[in-house]
């Protein structure tokens, strides 16, 4: 057996190109498996630890204003472990001429254990001396080049407040710092969290003894829904704006969704590679056994047992699995560390250490071995059937066959004889051709998915920022204003249009199904804050009913003209009924819309606004207008469309690079599969190709025989791969859509074309790699006896 093994090594050496290409696929599979799972584990462990250590809340309650004593009421509930009362308010600030929003959160004047605690990254907690100390979001400090000891001047209720930065901090509550669920990308320059003393907050926000947020930690095993209901009941008289749990909180939701995706990717992505590698192993070893029938017969005749011969041939797949897993786990380890760091740039979880999880190496190895051995066994089991005598006889010539295609005389009659060779060969080895095209199917599907992701993003951006958010600037007010009060904004130079907007949280329910969503009231025929129906047509806002997004309609199980219950959080105006007047598209957020009149009908409140959208005569005046707005009283934030668009585009870089990686992988898959199968094809047909060469066919004509076969397989693969990719991309997109955004799945016609061009281009590269093999076919092969 030892000498046989030497023979095997020599066989391997002869086909090192094939060997290496299978190995690459296996390595990629193992590397993805270990690294993606490590990233998943690293992130989920760190977030869990982080949440526990700093006591992330289980339930957040937003109130209008309530005495701090409501905390005691909540703590009287038996299952409440701990609660912390805070004041949370947004305010605007201008830093080096740029406008940003700060979320003020109050903390106890002296440090004690609280729910949603903070980690001090640098500096210190508040000291007793000055009141105006603050701890600032670490990312905000970095993004805006601020330093400890510096003073900042946010505007609260129209007044500049001077605050000294005494420390930088992070909190599990804002791992991912999004202002609200209408944003999809964090922009640390434009939004940050600022922590101030409780006493100071009471003073500047005019809230002596009052709070507007309670974060609650529950005992283990508490049913969240019951707790939420109880809390709502207890706080009934204090104007509950919203009660959300950990699954709804923006930051934790974003993270758990991301982790969920990583987990499913870590499970599914490597399987494609294992599958493809087993296909190649299956075909390659099948040919190897077929071509070595004589050798197998000789071995058997010499007295080797079936098992020994089988083991000998199977050791080829074992070697691939072992070497592939070894290299793959090393590569995967480095990749895991790199990917964890990359992901964490986005999340800022405190990774105390990036662990490499050895435990993932074992399942990866087992998977690889299982796939390779399965493929190997299936291609080698024919060994049992080979009789020593039979193997030593000459193999009967392979029969050519007419193919179905030939019945169509019009087409067949016009195919050259070389073309006939290609087609008959493809049909003779149908299974091989089909398995090869599986590689192409995966590859082209992957390409299309990569391209369609960018198409979908572009489409959404264009729709959202081009058509729906047709305004230039949105201002938010610290309190609800009557529409008349907005005239001072309307009068600012360059503001051509102003539309008041009222945004509030509500709970919409249909029977037992309910959802907390944003509720937006617009003017009846909005021009700059547009609502579109499902076929992207601008529609008017009804004055006696509401419009809801498609997704919300699905969640609630309602259709047009159905009635739903709306629960407002305005004291005394809790329950209202409304008729659904239409279904709309909404890419970002999950909302219901009505008109100002509609709201008036429901609440009897008249024209009120919590924010306003503005259109300028020319966007070049944006910063001038923003500057004027900043200094106006009662404005908490001023955001321009270009700001959010830029933040989004900046973050598209990550998507672009993952797109690039997918295209690379598609190339590797295609080339490895096609190169392998074509190598087998050339090897098997050496004699035929050598004959053609002797007969006077040029290298060019001969290579067409192999190359065109590859092109045909590629084209066939694409015919299935493109629809498959379309389906796969749609499924992935649907899977990744959340309450905060749902990206419509769009594939531009151009992307199909690019996919086709790239697939053919990768095929061309494979063909170029095969050129040498074809050129080096020895003409003297024709003189040799058949094996």
């Amino acid at each position: 057996m030892k000498i046989l093994f030497r023979n095997l090594l020599r066989d391997l050496k002869k086909s090192k190109g094939q060997f290496i290409s299978i190995l690459i696929i296996v390595i990629l599979g193992v590397a993805f498996y270990t690294s993606l799972n490590s990233v998943f584990k690293n992130l989920s462990n760190s977030s869990t630890q982080y949440y526990e250590k700093y006591r992330l809340a289980d339930i957040w309650v937003d109130l209008y204003k309530a005495p701090a004593s409501v905390k005691d009421k909540i703590e009287s509930l038996p299952y409440v472990k701990m609660s912390t009362e805070r004041i949370i308010n947004d305010a605007s600030i201008s830093i080096s001429e740029e406008n940003a929003t700060l979320r003020f959160i109050t903390l106890p004047d002296t440090k004690r254990e609280i729910v949603n605690d903070i980690v001090i990254k640098s500096g210190r907690y508040f000291s007793e001396d000055d009141n105006n100390q603050c701890l600032l979001d670490e990312d905000f400090i970095k993004a805006n080049n601020l330093n400890l000891g510096e003073y900042i001047y946010p505007i609260i209720n129209g007044n500049k407040v001077k605050l000294k930065i005494v420390g930088s901090a992070k909190s599990p509550e804002f791992v991912y710092t999004l202002k609200d669920s209408s944003e999809i990308m964090a922009d640390n320059k434009k939004f940050g969290i600022i922590y101030i003393k409780q006493s100071f907050g009471e003073a500047i926000f005019d809230s002596k003894g009052l709070v507007n947020n309670i974060s609650i930690k529950l005992s283990d095993g508490t049913i969240i829904e019951t707790a939420k209901d109880d809390i709502k009941k207890i706080l009934k008289n204090y104007g509950v704006k919203s009660v959300i749990d950990i699954d709804e909180q923006i930051s934790s939701k974003m993270i758990s969704e991301e982790i969920k995706q990583l987990k499913s990717m870590g499970g599914s992505f490597p399987i494609v590679f294992f599958l493809v590698s087993s296909i190649i192993i299956y075909i390659m070893m099948g040919r190897m056994v077929e071509n070595q029938r004589v050798q197998i017969g000789v071995l058997k005749a010499l007295g080797f047992t079936n098992m020994q011969v089988l083991t000998y041939y199977m050791s080829f797949s074992t070697i691939i699995a072992v070497i592939g897993s070894l290299i793959g786990s090393v590569v995967g380890t480095y990749m895991g560390v790199g990917l964890t760091k990359m992901y964490n740039q986005y999340f800022n979880l405190p990774l105390s250490e990036i662990k490499v999880y050895g435990e993932f190496v074992i399942p990866a190895f087992v998977l690889t071995l299982a796939f390779s051995l399965f493929a190997g066994y299936n291609s080698c089991k024919v060994i049992f059937k080979i009789m020593p005598s039979e193997a030593m006889r000459e193999k009967s010539p392979e029969g050519g066959k007419k193919i179905l295609f030939e019945k169509i005389e019009l087409i067949w009659g016009n195919i050259s004889n070389l073309g006939k060779i290609i087609l008959r060969n493809l049909f003779r080895y149908k299974r091989r051709a089909f398995l090869t095209s599986l590689g192409i199917i995966f590859s082209s599907a992957l390409l299309l998915v990569a391209l369609s992701m960018s198409d979908s993003m572009n489409f959404m951006i264009e729709e959202q920022y081009g058509n729906i958010q047709n305004y230039d600037i949105k201002v938010k007010f610290s309190k609800i204003m009557s529409v008349e009060e907005l005239s001072s904004i309307k009068n600012i130079e360059h503001v051509t249009k102003l539309e008041p907007v009222l945004e509030t949280g509500v709970e919409i329910s249909n029977g037992w199904r309910s959802k907390e969503v944003g509720f937006t009231a617009l003017i009846e025929e909005p021009q700059i804050y547009v609502v579109e129906d499902t076929s992207s047509n601008k529609i008017d806002i009804p004055s006696n009913g509401i419009l809801i997004s498609e997704k919300l309609a699905n969640v609630l199980g309602v259709k047009v003209n159905d009635k739903v219950n709306i629960k407002f959080f305005f004291p005394g105006k809790e329950k209202r009924e409304a008729v659904i007047k239409g279904i709309i598209v909404q890419y970002i957020g999950l909302s219901a819309y009505t008109s100002m009149d509609g709201l008036n009908n429901m609440l009897g409140e008249g024209m009120i606004a919590s924010s306003a959208v503005l259109k300028l005569d020319d966007s070049k005046f944006e910063s001038a207008v923003k500057n004027k707005l900043k200094d106006m009283p009662g404005i908490t934030s001023v955001e321009s469309k270009s700001d959010s668009l830029n933040a989004l585009l900046k973050n598209m870089g990550a998507m672009k690079s993952s797109m690039g990686a997918m295209i690379m992988l598609a190339a590797i898959l295609l080339i490895a599969v096609l190169y392998n199968i074509a190598t087998i094809n050339i090897f098997e047909r050496q004699r035929e190709l050598a004959t053609l060469k002797v007969l006077g066919f040029t290298n060019n004509e001969i290579k067409k025989l192999i190359f065109n076969e590859n092109y045909i397989i590629s084209i066939f693969g694409m015919i299935i791969g493109l629809p498959f990719g379309k389906w796969l991309g749609g499924a992935m997109m649907a899977n990744s859509s959340t309450d905060s955004y749902s990206i419509p799945y769009v594939i531009e016609f151009r992307s199909y074309i690019i996919t086709i061009i790239l697939t053919l281009f990768f095929t061309l590269i494979t063909n170029l790699m095969l050129m040498k093999k074809i050129k080096s076919i020895d003409m003297l092969e024709v003189l040799k006896n058949k094996e």
Partner: protein, 235 residues
């Protein structure tokens, strides 16, 4: 006097096998006249294959000249050699080497397309006696029938020269004789120059010219004034 169509002059072929140099042929010289039926005779390792390789344009000699139809082909580029094989030589191999994915007729048509002045494929199929098997694939034909297809394939491009490498080597006695008869008839009826390379001394009787090779050299050249018909040859 007919013109020599092939002139092989002082052809030496050396193969470099690592440290040793093997001489496959050493200053071989001979001529073949137009319309002749030539048998190159020799045991294995005698340099027969070198003759085939040199005259067939499949390899170049280390030194010497190979003049075919007045042109010295030893300085031909790979491409020119391909064109030479394509236009001027018809090959018949011991193991037929038909394209398994093409029918008998398609095999002939495939090569027909290479020629500037080809013959009619169906006529050739009739000439080799295979009209009724034209639509069969090689795997459906006997060895003798496959060799007939191979001969038809070689003839269809109307080559200057037909090179046959052990054409009967894989066939039984009776079938082998029928194939030789076919080659003999082609030579006599169409005056096609035919070179048969073989180790079978009996075949020499049917040749106009017999070139005996041994250890890489030409041992003797015999002109046969009265060649025998293959029917009367026995071995």
């Amino acid at each position: 006097m007919k013109d020599p169509i092939v002139i092989v002059k002082d052809v030496t072929k050396e193969y470099n096998m690592g440290e040793v140099t093997v001489k496959a042929s050493d200053k071989m010289s001979f001529e073949i006249l137009e319309g002749e039926f030539v048998v190159v005779l020799g045991p294995s390792g005698s340099g027969k294959s070198t003759v085939l390789n040199m005259v067939g344009g499949m390899d170049r000699p280390t030194s010497g000249e190979v003049i075919i139809d007045g042109e010295n082909i030893i300085n031909y580029s790979d491409n020119e050699l391909t064109m030479y094989r394509r236009k001027k030589v018809g090959f018949v191999f011991q193991f037929y080497n038909l394209m398994s994915n093409l029918t008998a007729l398609e095999n002939v048509e495939l090569v027909r397309s290479l020629s500037d002045n080809p013959l009619n494929a169906n006529d050739i199929m009739r000439d080799v006696g295979l009209s009724d098997r034209a639509l069969n694939f090689p795997a459906q034909l006997s060895g003798g029938q496959q060799q007939r297809v191979a001969i038809a394939r070689a003839l269809v491009k109307n080559p200057l020269l037909l090179l046959c490498d052990e054409p009967t080597g894989a066939l039984d006695y009776v079938t082998g004789k029928l194939i030789l008869k076919l080659l003999y008839d082609i030579n006599k009826n169409s005056n096609k120059t035919i070179v048969v390379i073989t180790h079978n001394a009996a075949i020499a009787a049917m040749a106009d010219r017999v070139i005996k090779v041994k250890s890489g050299t030409v041992e003797s050249i015999t002109i046969n004034e009265n060649p025998e018909s293959p029917e009367r040859i026995e071995w």
